[in-house]
């Protein structure tokens, strides 16, 4: 319906020019800052995520020089040699099938124990009148702050027996010979991983329990159901989606984890898929990368199942946000025993590992737990040739300060870069939600999440081990520089691996800055940079800092990701603890780990105290 156009003296018909249209199209595409940052981000992500993945896949089909004679071909030929060797040869059993089986056993057992443990603790803390609740709700997430490989070091300090030689553990000192099945291998790995990963189940289930409106349960009570029946028929189904999420998360983490099975399995030739990958990577990259691809495939299937099956049911876990429950289940006479068990548990999961490592760092001779053996040598002593191959005490060692500097340098550079990039990606995600470009970026960024750390490290090794050049119009361009052994490679791999978390933090941060705040600037003529600098950034500062701190802490503990890429001059504290420990230097390893704990807790404190960061926030990244 045309309205009031008759009152208007008709404009002369607008001329139409295709040339002007194209000019306008090109001008507006290039001057639109959103398009520019999307373009740059996509190029970056393709280069840093897709290219290494493809490169790794290609390597598994390309014959390497060292295998040319064995496989009857020329270096660089297309070959199925590596896959055949991995899947159907005489060594496949030891290379793939047994480790895969071991990994599955470990992952499934860990899931069962960790999920039961985490859910029960969550239920006790949220739903019962447990005494000392505030203390427990904080204390039960502390184990997660310690990296899992530290717990395996502590495990060894207690259970190590004569089997693998060297000093034995605390139990041996007391005259109790711990059996092999307890000291090393699957049982030890499962226990340590369960003590670590129960935090996922605890956090997810307790959040779900808190969000269940108590009225829903009270309705059941009014209809005459008793407490156990309410728990089974109302509460449990409501938190089931959260439990399933925790199952998937724990399973993929346990499948891909490297540190723990390497500490507790390698010495007795008990391989999981990740340690098998690690031990083949030096000998034969093609095979090793093929194992990586299998590991990535398992993780992807896992996530896929998560999205398909649980994705739709997740929704009702957040029914009724206000459920502030008043009628807690009374534990009655069960209260004190439960508190005692919890204390015992925390003592075992937190205090014991910390104390044993601390204590161990003061023992002159490993395995001698008597007071006469007390020494400050590993902290303050000068180098003595017959102790730990002449390693000086950590505070006397120039090398140690280099490790600290390396660690700090790595965590600051990485978290800074990851956070900035994460904010930019968050900006794209939040502003381009309805656009194809926004969704594409979101999916690209998600890929590193699928890839277990150890496989991710392998991927970067494959990509950046040697330079690749392209000859264009007679000029040679380095497309991929050789970065192996450089600090930059460590930064790159850490940044990209942490992008999923950084970008999610960035998205959450940007989502809370209304588009209208920016548009109000746009209307009065503020350019994109002015809007970003004067409106968006000042408003996102807090989220920026808390994201920064959480990434920093996560990288500080990182071992799995960088272990393959590490060279001695770049070594960080976790890597050194790992190296010392595998060389049999238990005391320097403990000292280094203790220093790392102190730094980790310090940064947690800063993050929590000054930037209001949710210290559980790093869990899902």
């Amino acid at each position: 319906m045309r309205v009031s156009s008759e009152t208007f003296d008709d404009k002369k018909a607008l001329s139409y020019s295709r040339k002007r249209k194209w000019k306008n199209l090109i001008l507006s595409s290039f001057s639109n800052p959103y398009n520019i940052i999307v373009f740059i981000s996509v190029v970056f992500l393709a280069y840093l995520i897709l290219a290494p993945l493809i490169e790794m896949a290609v390597t598994t089909f390309t014959l390497a020089q060292s295998d040319a004679r064995r496989a009857d071909g020329q270096a660089g030929d297309f070959t199925l040699y590596y896959w055949a060797r991995l899947l159907t040869s005489g060594v496949s059993r030891n290379l793939l099938y047994v480790p895969l089986m071991n990994s599955l056993i470990i992952a499934v057992s860990t899931v069962i124990i960790a999920i039961s443990l985490g859910s029960v603790i969550a239920w006790l803390i949220v739903r019962t009148d447990l005494p000392l609740k505030n203390f427990f709700s904080l204390a039960v997430i502390v184990p997660y702050m310690l990296p899992s490989w530290c717990k395996s070091m502590a495990w060894l300090a207690i259970f190590r027996n004569q089997r693998i030689g060297g000093a034995s553990g605390f139990l041996s000192y007391l005259g109790i010979s711990s059996p092999d099945w307890l000291s090393y291998g699957p049982v030890a790995i499962i226990v340590v991983l369960s003590l670590h990963y129960y935090a996922y189940a605890y956090l997810l289930v307790s959040a779900a329990l808190r969000s269940v409106n108590s009225e829903i349960e009270e309705m059941g009570e009014i209809l005459g159901a008793n407490k156990p029946s309410i728990l089974r028929r109302i509460t449990f189904p409501l938190v089931l989606p959260a439990i399933l999420s925790a199952v998937i998360l724990t399973f993929s983490k346990a499948m891909g984890t490297f540190g723990v099975p390497s500490f507790l399995g390698l010495k007795v030739n008990y391989y999981t898929i990740s340690t098998s990958l690690y031990s083949t990577v030096q000998r034969q990259k093609g095979t090793s990368f093929a194992i990586s691809l299998i590991l990535i495939a398992i993780a992807s299937i896992n996530i896929f199942i998560n999205q398909k099956i649980i994705g739709s049911r997740k929704s009702y876990a957040t029914i009724g946000g206000k459920g502030n429950r008043s009628n807690l289940l009374e534990l009655g006479k069960w209260g004190p025993p439960i508190v005692a068990v919890l204390f015992l548990f925390l003592g075992f999961a937190v205090l014991l590992p910390l104390l044993i490592l601390l204590y161990q760092s003061f023992m002159l001779k490993a395995g001698e737990f008597g007071l006469s053996n007390f020494t400050l040598h590993y902290w303050l002593g000068d180098a003595v040739p017959n102790i730990s191959d002449g390693l000086p005490g950590v505070f006397k060692s120039s090398q140690f300060w280099m490790f600290v500097t390396n660690t700090l340098k790595l965590v600051f550079f990485t978290s800074f870069a990851a956070t900035i990039f994460g904010q930019v990606l968050g900006y794209i995600n939040s502003r381009g939600r309805h656009l194809r470009s926004g969704r594409m970026v979101e999916q690209l960024v998600f890929i590193p999440y699928l890839i277990p750390s150890i496989a991710f490290g392998a991927m970067y090794l494959s990509m950046f081990a040697s330079a690749a050049t392209v000859n264009l119009f007679g000029v040679t361009f380095t497309v991929v520089p050789s970065l192996y052994g450089t600090f930059l490679l460590l930064v790159l791999v850490s940044v990209v691996k942490h992008l999923p978390f950084a970008s999610r933090a960035g998205t959450a941060n940007m989502m809370q800055i209304g588009v209208e705040l920016e548009e109000a600037g746009q209307i009065v003529g503020a350019s994109f940079l002015q809007r970003f600098g004067r409106i968006v950034f000042p408003l996102s500062k807090n989220g920026f800092m808390s994201g920064f701190m959480l990434i920093l802490i996560s990288i500080m503990k990182e071992l799995d990701l960088i272990v393959i890429l590490m060279t001695p001059s770049q070594a960080t504290l976790p890597y050194m603890a790992y190296t010392y420990s595998t060389s049999g230097f238990a005391q320097p390893a403990s000292a280094v780990a203790i220093v790392m704990f102190v730094m980790v807790f310090f940064f947690y404190w800063i993050a929590n105290r000054f930037f209001n960061a949710d210290i559980t926030g790093g869990l899902r990244g």
Binding site: S4, F8, S28, G514, E516, E519, G521, G525, A526
Partner: protein, 374 residues
């Protein structure tokens, strides 16, 4: 102070056709209200004018200047259109003081500091919030925040001021105060104002013209009292007016220059003077009669041309009294000024004045016969 002419504007979000062939001319200095239920596209058209959305087709002229030509993908950036927008959420920057919020646009285009101070203080004074210059938005009440948002929009003396439901977040009393304020502001500044709202009272009381939107189309664009007294369709009639208009079905017959309608209200004969182009040339058709509640006259005694009815329910509100009437199967609503003493189930007689009745075509829903305007 600008005339804005929109021609053939179409806007899609994916498959969702939000604006359908919008043609609208907004004269210099008008207070044009875009009125419609939520989701009808009225905010989108405002954003298209502001330059925050790009339509897929159509042109917009500001005076003689072409600012949008979708055919050639030409869209003047918002800042060059010499307009400003007050957002529904106010969109005040929480990290800036009131002064900085209002002065932001001026600092962006490098206005000298002294001039900024002068202009900002002037705008704050005009909105009577000079005392709050150094406060942060979170330290202000909703009404004060609203004033800051308006001050920010007028500080650079835009030629066109766009307001997106600016009063929807205020409580009822403040809303009436702000209506008066905005109306004064419009007259003082002489700026063209485009105002989006879903509140018909706001639209009727403030505008020089109202464009009523339904489902992405303009259904009627007229002066407020025209829209009220002669809604162009049944949908508009339904939407405008509180309490709602009475709609009664009847049978109409056009013979030459007269229209005869038989309905539960009685029989009416209308002469040609109020006929619209939608009136059938001749013959019988189904019609709907529209009658505003205040145009029903209640009498307590019978008389000629009066129709008997029964009082179903009485709703006194002090300044007015609403009375629900039953006339056989039909229910009518009548509005009387002041407090009235009727009782439930009382018998009354109703008088209808034919010149106050709208006739709509039942099938098309369009207005065929207008009332005599006051």
């Amino acid at each position: 102070m600008s005339r804005i002419h929109l021609q053939g504007i179409n806007k899609f979000y994916g498959d969702n056709h939000v604006l359908k062939d919008i043609d609208l001319l907004i004269e210099d200095g008008e207070f044009m209200t875009l009125l419609g239920p939520s989701g009808c596209g009225k905010t989108t058209i405002l954003r298209v004018i502001a330059g925050l959305e790009k339509p897929q087709s159509g042109t917009i002229h500001m005076d003689e200047r072409l600012i949008v030509n979708s055919g050639e993908l030409f869209f003047e950036p918002p800042a060059k259109r010499r307009l400003n927008l007050v957002f529904q959420s106010y969109a005040l920057w929480p990290h800036m003081t009131v002064f900085d919020n209002v002065g932001f646009g001026l600092t962006v285009n490098n206005t000298p500091k002294r001039e900024i101070k002068l202009l900002v203080e002037n705008a704050l004074e005009r909105m009577q919030i000079g005392a709050f210059a150094n406060r942060y938005p979170s330290e202000l009440s909703g009404g004060q925040q609203q004033r800051v948002a308006i001050a920010r929009a007028i500080v650079s003396s835009p030629e066109v001021l766009l307001l997106d439901e600016p009063l929807s977040n205020l409580d009822a009393r403040l809303r009436i105060d702000m209506r008066a304020e905005l109306k004064r502001l419009h007259l003082e500044m002489g700026t063209t104002v485009i105002y989006v709202t879903h509140d018909q009272v706001e639209a009727l009381t403030m505008s020089t013209r109202i464009a009523v939107f339904f489902e992405g189309r303009i259904e009627q664009a007229d002066a407020p009292m025209m829209v009220y007294q002669n809604p162009s369709s049944l949908r508009v009639a339904h939407f405008i007016g509180n309490p709602r208009i009475n709609l009664i079905e009847g049978d109409a017959m056009r013979e030459g220059k007269t229209l005869t309608v038989r309905s539960p209200l009685g029989m009416f004969r209308f002469s040609e003077s109020g006929f619209t182009p939608h009136m059938p040339e001749s013959g019988a058709f189904g019609c709907v009669l529209g009658l505003r509640p205040e145009d029903i006259i209640l009498r307590t005694a019978s008389g000629e041309n009066l129709t008997s009815a029964r009082i179903y329910s009485i709703m006194p509100a002090g300044s007015e009294t609403l009375i629900q009437l039953k006339m056989g199967e039909e229910t009518l609503l009548s509005k009387l000024l002041g407090v009235r003493s009727f009782v439930q189930d009382q018998q009354v007689w109703l008088e209808f004045r034919p010149e106050r009745i709208n006739v709509f075509h039942k099938d098309s829903g369009l207005l065929c016969k207008m009332t005599d305007m006051d």
